[in-house]
C-alpha cells in the first residue's frame, strides 16, 4: 500500500511518461479533420485523458512546426478551427509510429526479463 507522498510521486512519473506520447496520440487522430473540442472528446472517449490547457497549445505548436494545417470554418453554428495532418505531418507521424514500436518492444523485453 502506497502512502500519500508515494502516490503523489507516482502521479508525477505517470504524467511524465504520458507527456512523451501525447504528440503521437494527438497525431493519430488527425488523419481526418477535427476541431479542438471534438479532438479532445475523441481522445478522452478512447481513454487518453487530455485537457484543453494541453491540447490547444500543442495543436498550435504542431502547426508552427508545419506538421498540421488548420482553417477556420464558419458554416457550423459558429466559427470553429479544424486541424488535419499535412503531408509532412503524415511522414513524421509514420516515423514516430516506428520509433514508438521499437521503444515499446524494448520496454516489453525489459519488463519480461524482470518477470
Amino acid at each position: 500500500m502506497m502512502n500519500a507522498k508515494q502516490n503523489s510521486e507516482l502521479e508525477k512519473l505517470e504524467q511524465e511518461m504520458r507527456r512523451g506520447v501525447i504528440v503521437l496520440a494527438v497525431m493519430s487522430r488527425l488523419m481526418h479533420e477535427q476541431y479542438g473540442y471534438s479532438l479532445m472528446k475523441d481522445l478522452n472517449d478512447k481513454g487518453f485523458e487530455i485537457g484543453q490547457d494541453t491540447l490547444y497549445p500543442l495543436l498550435r505548436r504542431l502547426e508552427e512546426q508545419q506538421l498540421l494545417d488548420s482553417q477556420w470554418r464558419v458554416e457550423d453554428p459558429r466559427p470553429r478551427r479544424y486541424y488535419q495532418l499535412n503531408g509532412n505531418g503524415r511522414a513524421v507521424y509514420r516515423a514516430l509510429i516506428q520509433s514508438w514500436q521499437v521503444q515499446n518492444e524494448i520496454i516489453r523485453r525489459l519488463l519480461d526479463e524482470i518477470e
Binding site: 479542438g36 490547457d53 490547444y56 470553429r80
Partner: protein, 340 residues
C-alpha cells in the same frame, strides 16, 4: 443556445483579459479559439438550455483558470538565465560574492586596526549591513549581465559554453579520501621550515632585533640592528603562531590525514596570520638600515630604507589577499565536504 446579457459581458471581459496577457502576434486567433472552446463546452454541459446565465459561465471559466494561466500555456517558456547558462552563472556568482565579501571583511579588520578609536559595535554593524547590500548588488548585477547574454544568445550556440561542457580529465576533483590524505614530505618540510623560523625569531628576540654582521671577516663579528621596535613587539606572537603551526603539522603526521580538528586549526591559524600581517603593516617601518650608512652612505640608506619597507608592505598586502581568498575557499570546502 445563447448567453444572457450578463454572461456575454463576462465572456468578453474574460477573453479581453486573456488577450492582454498574450504577446503572440496571433493572439486574436488564439482568443477566438478559446472562445470557440468555451461555447463547445457550454453546449455539452447545458444541453437543451435556451439561455446560459452568468453563474453557469463563471463555473466554466473558473475551471479554466485565471486569464494569465490560460495565456501562459500558449507562450514559450522564457528564462532570465536559462539552463544552458545557469551553471556558469552560479560559478561566477559564487566566486565574485566570495571575493567581495572577503574584501569587505578585510577592510573592516583594517578599519578597526588603523582607527582603534572607532566604536567597534558601530563598525561591526556597518560591516554586516554592507555584507548584505554588497552580496545583493553583486548577484543583481550578475543576473542582469547573464540575462543580457541569455537574450542576445537565444537560439544560438555559444562556443565558450560548449567548451565548458567538454570533459577535461585533469579538472576532475580528487576523491574526498585522497584529497584529505597528507603528503608526508610536504608536511615534513613545513615542520623543518617552522623549526628554522622558531630558531631565527627566538634569536632576534634575544638580540633585540640585531643580526650578526660579517662584512669584514677579519674584524670581530658584531650585532647590528636590523628590525625596528615596531616589528619586535610582534615577535612573541610570531613565535606563538609558528609553534602552533609546527604542532599542527606534527598532529597531521601522526594522524596521516586531515581531520576536522586540523582543518579548522589551519583555518584559525590563517585568520591569525592575516590579523598579524595587518598589524605589521600598520607598524611600518619594520626594518632599519641605519647601521649600513657607514658602508652605503647616508643618502643611499635614506632612499633604500623606505623602498625596503614599502616592498615588505606590498608583499604583506598580497599575502593578506591570498590568505583571505584561500581561507574562504577552505571554509567553503570544509562546510561542503567536512573532514571526519
Amino acid at each position: 443556445m445563447k448567453l444572457s446579457k450578463a454572461a456575454c459581458a463576462l465572456m468578453e471581459r474574460y477573453l479581453y483579459a486573456v488577450k492582454r496577457e498574450l504577446n503572440d502576434k496571433s493572439r486574436d486567433d488564439i482568443v477566438a479559439e478559446i472562445e470557440s472552446y468555451i461555447y463547445d463546452l457550454l453546449e455539452e454541459r447545458f444541453v437543451g438550455v435556451h439561455e446560459v446565465g452568468e453563474k453557469d459561465l463563471e463555473t466554466i471559466l473558473k475551471e479554466m483558470g485565471a486569464p494569465r494561466k490560460v495565456a501562459a500555456q500558449y507562450s514559450p517558456q522564457h528564462y532570465l538565465v536559462g539552463p544552458r547558462l545557469f551553471p556558469l552563472f552560479m560559478l561566477v556568482t559564487k566566486i565574485l560574492v566570495t571575493v567581495v565579501l572577503g574584501a569587505l571583511t578585510l577592510s573592516m579588520v583594517i578599519n578597526l586596526v588603523v582607527n582603534p578609536a572607532n566604536n567597534v559595535w558601530m563598525v561591526m554593524l556597518e560591516y554586516f549591513g554592507s555584507l548584505f547590500s554588497a552580496a545583493l548588488s553583486t548577484i543583481g548585477i550578475l543576473t542582469l549581465i547573464f540575462a543580457g547574454i541569455e537574450c542576445a544568445a537565444r537560439g544560438r550556440d555559444i562556443e565558450e559554453i560548449e567548451e565548458l561542457q567538454e570533459l577535461h580529465i585533469h579538472d576532475l576533483p580528487q576523491l574526498p579520501e585522497q584529497e584529505k590524505e597528507v603528503g608526508q614530505l610536504g608536511v615534513s618540510i613545513e615542520i623543518i621550515l617552522g623549526i628554522i623560523g622558531l630558531v631565527f625569531f627566538t634569536y632576534i628576540q634575544k638580540t633585540g632585533g640585531r643580526l650578526p654582521y660579517w662584512m669584514t671577516p677579519s674584524a670581530d663579528t658584531q650585532l647590528v640592528p636590523v628590525f625596528t621596535p615596531g616589528f619586535m613587539q610582534f615577535v612573541p606572537f610570531i613565535l606563538g603562531l609558528t609553534g602552533l603551526e609546527i604542532a599542527r603539522n606534527l598532529t597531521l603526521l601522526v594522524q596521516g590525514c586531515h581531520t576536522s580538528l586540523t582543518t579548522w586549526w589551519q583555518i584559525a591559524a590563517k585568520i591569525a596570520d592575516i590579523i598579524l600581517l595587518i598589524f605589521l603593516i600598520t607598524s611600518l617601518p619594520l626594518v632599519t638600515l641605519d647601521y649600513f650608512q657607514y658602508i652605503l652612505g647616508n643618502d643611499m640608506v635614506m632612499e633604500l630604507e623606505p623602498l625596503v619597507n614599502t616592498g615588505l608592505a606590498v608583499a604583506m598586502s598580497l599575502g593578506i589577499l591570498g590568505s583571505v581568498v584561500d581561507t574562504i575557499k577552505q571554509v567553503l570546502r570544509e562546510v561542503r565536504n567536512p573532514s571526519v
